[in-house]
Structures are given as structure tokens and as C-alpha cells.
Point group: C2
Chain length 378, copies 2
Amino acid sequence: MSQDRERSDREREIPSRSCNRYQIPVTLICTNDSEEAGVAVSTGEGVTIRDVAARAGVSIATVSRVLRGNIPVSEPTKERVLTVVSELGYRPSVLGRSLAEGRHAANGIVFPDLSGPYYAEVVLGYEEAAGELGRSVLILSTHGRDAAPEMVRELARRVDGMVVLGRTVSDEVVQEIAARGLPIVLLARSAAGEVDSVNAENVASAIRLTEHLIDHGHRTFAVVGGAESSPDTMERWAGVRTALLRAGLTPPAEPVPAGLREEEGTRVAEDLLVAGVPDAVVCANDELALGVITGLRAAGIDVPGQVAVTGWDDVMAARYAGLTTVRQPMRELGVRAARMLDLRIRGDAGPARHEVLPTNLVVRNSCGRHEPPDLDRR
Amino acid sequence: MSQDRERSDREREIPSRSCNRYQIPVTLICTNDSEEAGVAVSTGEGVTIRDVAARAGVSIATVSRVLRGNIPVSEPTKERVLTVVSELGYRPSVLGRSLAEGRHAANGIVFPDLSGPYYAEVVLGYEEAAGELGRSVLILSTHGRDAAPEMVRELARRVDGMVVLGRTVSDEVVQEIAARGLPIVLLARSAAGEVDSVNAENVASAIRLTEHLIDHGHRTFAVVGGAESSPDTMERWAGVRTALLRAGLTPPAEPVPAGLREEEGTRVAEDLLVAGVPDAVVCANDELALGVITGLRAAGIDVPGQVAVTGWDDVMAARYAGLTTVRQPMRELGVRAARMLDLRIRGDAGPARHEVLPTNLVVRNSCGRHEPPDLDRR
DNA sequence: TTGAAAGCGTTACCAA
DNA sequence: TTGGTAACGCTTTCAA
């Protein structure tokens, strides 16, 4: 925007109230637009390092040194500079600093869609941890758009590192960006090549969940949602399969395809009614499970009397709906990812690290009636 | 970081494979670190406008013109430059561009806490709309920290405009930043001075809700949560008061203080049991209401038989808990705020605008039993 | 239509 | 300890 050419030397003179009592500045002819010179400046907006240097009678290098603090500056000089800084309300330009330092002091996070409590919690944890580490957070949700890879590449150019959640962009895109040297942490998404990752445990908890359902006497199973598009759910379905095989039961041939949303669940319920209702419906997340329950009940099916339905995540609604599910430490996932990323940004080298956070089976009553009236309702 | 001083003229020569068939570049002595000259470049990382200019045999100004597209460039030149750009995988530096243009191409959003479905939805809408307008989104949650004003000021230095939600920083801070010329839109927070705002309708819906409760026969009311800290809830309580006075009933003297979270609700329920349980408990949001219900029921109180409890927002759990509430267009709030902000960033002047989005009363059964078995359960 | 060069606001090197 | 100044990577003015 404003490129005021005829700047040169004329403006910079500052009314030298040469008393050394720190007073509020009254006039300062500044370099900015204000056609009418002699305007009072106090907001600190538009004040540059040169203004400070001129007023303090030092070079801009010295001002920079004082502000960065790492290089020795004589006490009186430092004091003088700091005085002027606060008089003028000077704050270094983020842009100027970033350009000179070659870093952004910002992190990115890419998720498929912010909707749903799961992502919100993850982002919350991430933002909090990143903030404490002095980094700004740029968010990007891809919404399954075709332009997603380009959006992510663009984000990559504005940050010093980023966290990428499952189902956003392909491993190729991740690899490409990582290859350029940008630190990346994968979240809720199995490791791709030499990239760090943070995940919640999936297989063992899926086995535990399935065994619980088998204990209820359920014999025929359907699994709903996710699959290929979501590595996270693939692990879960592998766990379900393992548990069923161990028990000598027949695992479902294919997961029922469905998006991770409530409406999708009710739709699936209708399909299930046509295709034949299994004993247990294991869903990829809570929203989906709640939708399935709604759909089944609307058709007069008793849940859990005739069919058991389970979810994953343990969102708030799951508690009120009495949904049996697996709790993930959503917020903690975000926190860990932020910390892991920060390490890499600070130059930490070494082979890729993979963190796996534990989960909890939360038994409520959508999985079948329990003899002891009601098991741990939260 | 890397400030390679001895750059000057020596490097820039490019092996002039002077055939005009576009071939994949094989060697290019680049200006970057690589001590061993003659390294092949193809990732596009570290390629600057100068590299492109040199290879295309034009000035950097011309490259810039081609890329920006606004200034006429001869067709052959343009073509040549674009070829080199794609050969080298050149992408302009966001930092360099921003510094020169004096803008960030990024928006901020400040909220008190991302937890809870309400904020998540707002952010989702905001991010989506801002993204479509070509702007990155920086998020900041203040968590009620003392440093909040400083955090927000810092954010203000990294964006071209920002949205500020209620209960984050004081009006003074908002005014201060707005005075510097940074476009701001207030969200879920009543207008402060000459600043744009987007809100959901509060008073009329509170009146409607209250009247519904009165129709149920409830006569003594308590309102829980929010108040001064949250201008949004103050409006709601004003609505409740109005409705009660109109009906000749006594409004509660004070709102019961409580944070907007579930745990707070259960705590309040205990207090209510001691202080005396009213006919109806109107809560500032759904989480709080759900907590109150849980607390009351745990004490053996029948909801809605003995007490009616209502929420606000209509989050997912509200549906499964059968909570009577007021639905806000959360996502739409975010979208509108993003658009309004964008207008200002594009230089739109004029007096502050205030948008108010309509809400819906959602009657379920926490407000009292209805004669017709169950009213619009969504 | 094009090029040269100033300027955006910093940091960090080199010499004093 | 300090000042001068190149460099970061771009945009835009001014002249040609």
C-alpha cells in the first residue's frame, strides 16, 4: 500500500524536549500518511524501529539489540531506548521480524471439518499448548474439497510447522511438504513414512469393546463408517475383526460406508432394516451411533433389547443418550501434537516419533441390558 | 537465519540451455545455502523471484507483474515467465509479499474458550467463510487469562482484522485496537462504541421461552449463569424479567452465578436444593442446564415434574436429553461475522453495522409435560 | 512494455 | 559497546 517515496530526511526530526524526565510525547513528526505534519502520536501504530532510533539518538541496530536482549548493550543506552520505546508505544513489526528471521512464529493445524465435538476438543488442546509455547495458530479445515492439497500447501507457506489430522490430504501431499523441510505431526492418522504422529490407541480398545459385546451374547456384527478414508477407523475395524475371530465368530465382510455424522447414521439404520438387523452395530463415532439408534428406534426396533449399538469418542451427547463408547483423550491429543511439533521446530532431529495415547471403554446401556441395574453411567 | 552476505553477482548465471522446448531444469546455481554449487532445484523451496527473473531473462519487476496479473505484460514475456515459474516450482513468499503490500491476508478470531459445541460451530462457520474469501484464520482463545489483553493485542499485529467474542477482553481493549484502525467485528457481544457486531436475537426469544414456561403453570423462576461477564446472557435475563413482569410475576432478584459448564450446573443444583427449588430454572446455556438436571435428579427431584429446566443454544446433547432450549444459528453467526469483517478490510467505510440473527424456541420436555404426548422432538 | 531501484521493517554481520 | 549497512523477498514508482 503506502509507499511514500519522498521520505528521505525531512521528517525524522523530533522535537527534542531534552529533559530526561519521562514525559508523554506531545509531538512527533512521523513518517506516515498524515499530510498535516506535527500530529501527535501515541498509539504506537506505524512507529518503526527508525523512529525509535532517531528519538533515542542511537542506530536502529542498537534498538534491535536492546529489544532482542541477547547482545550486550550499555545500561544507559538500554534505558534510553526502552524509555523511547514506551513513550512511542513502539512494537516491532511481526512481518519485518519474520522476514528477517526467516520464520513465522506460527503453527498450523489442518482438520477435515471442525464440526463435531471431537475436532473442537483437539483444536482446543492444540491452541492452548501452542499458545503457551509462544506460537500463533492458523487453522484450516478442508471440508473434503478438491482444492484441499493446494490449501494445505498454502498453509505450509505461512507456518513453521503443522499438524495434519486424518482424512484431509493424502500421504503424498504430507510427504511432499515434509520433504521440503517443514515439520509435520500427524494426528489421528497412522504414520506415513518418516513423519511424527500422535494417536489414540485403537486396536486394543476395539477388541475390548467387541469382547464386551460378545459377553452380552451378541453374535452377528456390523461395523459402520469410516474405513479407507480414515486410517483411524481401519485400525478399529481390525480390532473388531480380531476379537470376533478369536471368539470363533464371523466378522462382517465390509464396513457399512457412512460419513461420520448423525444423519448418516439414521440413513444407515434404514439400510440395516432392509438388509437384516445384526445383533450389534459398532459405529466409527458417537454421532453416527446416535443417528443409528434414532433411526432404529423410529422403526420400532428396541435398542439395546433387539440390537446393541456402540460409538466412539465419548462426546457429551453420548452420556445423555446412554451410549456405550470408547473415550479418547481428545484434548490431550491436541496438546501432545503441539508439543511434539514444537520440538521439531526448535530443530530437534532424529527419527520419527510416534505417540499413542490410551483410551477407555465406557460402558453405558446401548450395548445391552446389564444385570447390575446400570453400570458406570459416567 | 541464513543471511548469506557474499551474494552479489556471481551466482545468478544459469546454464543457458537455450532451446525453447520446455524441459525439466537440470542445473541451476541457486542463491541458497548449498555450498556445493550446481545443485538441481525442483522442489520450489527457496526459489525467489530473482531466480525466476534471471532464468527467464527479465527483471524481477516483470515477474511480479506477470504473477499479479493486474499490469499488462506482453504475451511472449508472460509465457516465458510462467514457464520458468512452473519449471522452478516458484511460489512467492507470503512474508515478502505481505511486507511489501502492508497486509497479512489473515483474519483473527478471539473466543473465551473453544470448549463446548457453541464456539466450535462458530469457528467452523468463520473459518469456512474466511477461507472462501481467501484469508487465513488465526485463532486465539483467552481462557480468561490475565494476559488476555496482551494476547489479543499481539494477535492484532498479525491480522488485517478480527472477530472478538464475548467474555474475552474488555470493551476498552477492543476500542483501543479499533482506534488503531484495525477492523473488528464483535460477536455474541453487544456493541461497544463504533464497532460492527453480529448477534443472535436474545430478548424476544427469552420472552417467548419464559411465556412458554408460564403457560406450563410455573410461577417462581431462577436464572442461572452468565450475567455481567457475558452481555449476551444479560440480554436474555432482561427478556425473562420482562415476560415475568408482564405476567404479574416476580422476577428473580439476581442470576445465580455460574460458569457455562456442566459441572457448574450440578453445583448450582445443590445450592438450589438448599435455597429452595423454584418452579423453573432458566439456564444461560445447554451445558449448564444439563448439569442442573443431572444434579437435581441425583437428589431425587423430578424434572420436569417438580422443576422445569431450560437451556440455550440447542447443542447435540440437548436433543438426546430432551432439553427445552433456544436454538442459535451458531455457524451462521461465524459466517456473517467473517463476511462483515471482510467488507471492512476491503476498505468499506461508513457507520458501524449491527446484524441480529433470529433464533428458535425448541420445546422438548424439560420444561414440563405437554398434553399432546411430545412436542416437536426435533 | 520493460527495467532499475526504492521501499516495506526487521536482524545480524563487519568494522570501528 | 556501537553504527553502518546488506539482506530477507516482494511490490510499485519512475523513466526509458
